[in-house]
């Protein structure tokens, strides 16, 4: 793996790419501690969530269309089009499904993603 791990405040953050590497309203995928994580940029924010689409079981969420539902920022799976709340990973079409999310920080134009999913989040399986 070529990614560089940064130790900031003792917390394990990973520097994945520059903000401008992601075109607004699109996503990319990063490999973080062996996990595939979708990094998604909206107009003014960056979110990180598991890249595994729980419905198709393909690692593709980062390639979905980004938008909103009643103001909730969301991404649609490119395979069967279910949508997920970018902030919480909650599937908006099925209350029982949720993908893990990671904390994100932007510092000096770089996107830093926490190596571990937010506590309590399922490892998408």
């Amino acid at each position: 793996m070529t990614a560089i791990a940064l130790e900031l405040d003792g917390a394990p953050w990973e520097d994945v790419c520059a903000l401008e590497d992601i075109v607004p309203w699109t996503g990319v995928c990063a490999l973080i501690a062996g996990r595939q994580v979708a990094i998604v940029r909206t107009g003014d924010a960056v979110y990180a969530l598991g890249n595994l689409d729980p419905f198709s079981k393909a690692n593709v969420l980062s390639r979905g269309i980004v938008g909103d539902k009643d103001g909730i920022p969301k991404i649609a799976s490119p395979i069967f089009k279910q949508t997920f709340d970018l902030r919480t990973g909650q599937c908006l079409d099925n209350p029982a499904v949720r993908v893990p999310t990671h904390e994100v920080r932007i510092e000096r134009g770089r996107i830093l993603v926490h190596r571990e999913p937010r506590p309590g989040d399922q490892d998408g399986a």
């Binding site: 793996m1 070529t2 990614a3 990973e14 994945v16 790419c17 590497d21 992601i22 075109v23 607004p24 309203w25 699109t26 990319v28 995928c29 990063a30 490999l31 973080i32 062996g34 595939q36 990094i39 909206t42 107009g43 595994l52 419905f55 198709s56 079981k57 393909a58 690692n59 593709v60 390639r63 979905g64 269309i65 980004v66 938008g67 909103d68 539902k69 009643d70 103001g71 920022p73 969301k74 649609a76 490119p78 395979i79 069967f80 089009k81 279910q82 949508t83 908006l92 079409d93 099925n94 309590g120 399922q122 490892d123 399986a125």
Partner: protein, 846 residues
Amino acid sequence: MTKKQLVVVGNGMVGHRFLELLLESGESERWNVVTFCEEPRLAYDRVNLTNFLGGKSPAELSLVGPRRYEDAGVTVHLGDRAAVIDRQCKRVLSAEGRRIPYDVLVLATGSAPFVPPIPGRDAWGCFVYRTIDDLKRIRLWAAQIQTGVVIGGGLLGLEAANALTHMGLETHVVEFAPRLMAMQIDEGGAQILRSKIEALGVSVHTGKNTTRIVSRGGRVTEIRFADGGVLAAEMVVFSAGISARDELARNAGLEVGERGGIVVDERCRTSDPDILAIGECASYRGRTYGLVGPGYQMARTAVSTLAGGDDRLGVFDMSTKLKLMGVEVASFGDAHGTLPGARVVAFSDAVSGVYKKLVLSSDRQRLLGGVLVGEASSYGQLLSLTQSKAALPPQPEQLILPRLEGGAALPGVDALPDAATICTCQNVGKGVICKAIRSQDLTSVGAVKAATTAGTGCGSCVPLLGELLAREMKRAGKKVSRDLCEHFPHPRQELFHLLRVHGVRSFDELIGKHGRGTGCEICKPAVASMLSSTWNEHVLEDRHLGLQDTNDRFLANIQRDGSYSVVPRVPGGEITPDQLIALGWIARKHCLYSKITGAQRVDLFGARLEQLPQIWRDLVAAGFESGHAYGKALRTVKSCVGSTWCRFGVQDSVSFAIRLENRYKGLRAPHKLKSAVSGCARECAEAQGKDFGVIATEKGYNLYLCGNGGMKPQHAQLFATDLDEDTLIRYLDRFLMFYVRTADRLQRTAAWFNNLEGGIEYLRQVLIDDSLGICAELESDMARIVDSYRCEWKATIEDPVKLARFRTFVNSPEPDPSLVRVPQRAQHRPATWEEKQLHLVPQEAE
């Protein structure tokens, strides 16, 4: 006559059946028979193993009559394991030190339970469930504890769980997959099965990835899951599948299958003609068979092979019916509906706990398979319908629907009972959907999906949802909204008009002026299409990138595992030998599965995201252009060979097809566009099934419009006759642009036509007589598109900014490790989720 020596390794169900058949056939006269039996007892009925816990003695379970082998002169080495096959000297060395020569060797070593590599799995209190001795150990242990956990929610796991409850334990079943019995039954069936099993006091935990088994003082105390969950356990029984015992054969250098098992041909011969393999240890046609039926069939074939007969293995029926904890479960034929064109009807009743599903052939004439849970009395009848391929009654769903009062049901959604499942993927019934529409005042299919989850799987029920919605809304006296989505209070046609009239060139501008919010997966691709068919800018420009569906975004077709397929354009289907060689060469170089498509060209499957640019560099270098198989755009103009070679051809249909394809390639439309040109009335190019079709006549060409193949085939309408090429193209320019402007999103020309008041006569007035005075505009719009055409892929590989987007990971050059391939018919296919889960293929690292 000196007898030859036959050695049989393994005296399980199949090894024993083989010996019986051999003795019966008289063939045993020619052989000196020796068998190794690793277990301390001769073959017994493993299928009914659980009865041992119910009180049956090993003697009652035994399959071998007293003195049967002795009397027949079969030498048995009981409790001795064959350890090595020495093929050079043709002898078997055993664990006890025996050296037994053979002329022919038969391997019937069965399988071993698969124990997932979970740390701690060796603790005391961890068991498998395969032999009488395993069950003795389990029984002894169970006597001192209260709670037991079975890892594996498949057929065997549930059987083991049943046994634990009978021993008085508080029982849990842990399954990695999201549902029980994923191999045999589907989601709908699994839900019913689960609720029934839970009602019997077994706790079911699905979607749980066990990561550690914790022990204290060597004894298991709890198991932990990837999601942080913990389950107390004093006993763990692994029942997570089986793996063939092919180690003897493997070490002897015999061919073994990709997914394990000793490879045999249809006569049960391994790669060494003096060695046969039968039963669960054998891999036939790329897989092993965990049921006794196929094993018995192999035993018969192997005896025939020994006797010089020509019995051959056929297709194995993997149908099963069993009673799990008193719940009937049956799965037969193509239970998952994986055969091409398979259709599904299902019925589910959560109250009485019954689920029934039939898989039908595309014409609904034959039964291909099915699943029954909770009530399986019709299993025999349905299985026989499947196997006999008998014609079905006109409404096959009647076979599983409960009889309605007052005679036969009527077709259509209205006729379905409220209990009928509408969405099989999510198992949602009609009653639930109608109730949600009424009580939550739903007014769009999207809202119905969100409220009920129906329609969020394969999508095949969405038209039914639309029907139900329209029906309910009509009942409530409401109008169905035609707004594009929540972000645009306009139908597509109005938006298109606004976009053209105001010269809008980006989504941001359009939503800023005429919409609200930030857009979604419905309006973005629709607007992308409108922008493209108006201004024809490259779809991967930064400001258009986020609007594209994944196929357009990566200029390739996404496949079920997240890899892509590549379809180069072959205008008119005419291809030179050199182009064919180039395609083959490129497919081989990049290790792509290749297939001739249904539209006269070649599809190359299995490309990883980061491979696409190099594949296209190679294709562009060989003179190919993008085929737009990924876009809602012109696909192909099929041709027949026409007057170029054919004795009946009256026009040069190939040249004209190529001219049309090159004119309209790259045109983005509300939906895909397909076309064909036939050289005479015999119509070999099937032009009347296309969005626009051309059929040659003595005097020119007839033009047909608005046909469709696919889900709802529709004949095209004859629009004008005996046209010359240029006039026909002028009409087509007008027709296509009129469709592009006025159709709904994702509406093919046929559906659009069906909603046009005035039909084909109206189309003639607009496009020939110019009744709306827009023909000149339509033509110049088309001219602009034609003039600005550039191959999207050629432009992409020349642009480093666009190229940078074609990588799997933004921070690593590694390929996606979850893309796993399985060999199939001399090529390969993606591994299924089940195969990955059941460890039938190499797994990505956890």
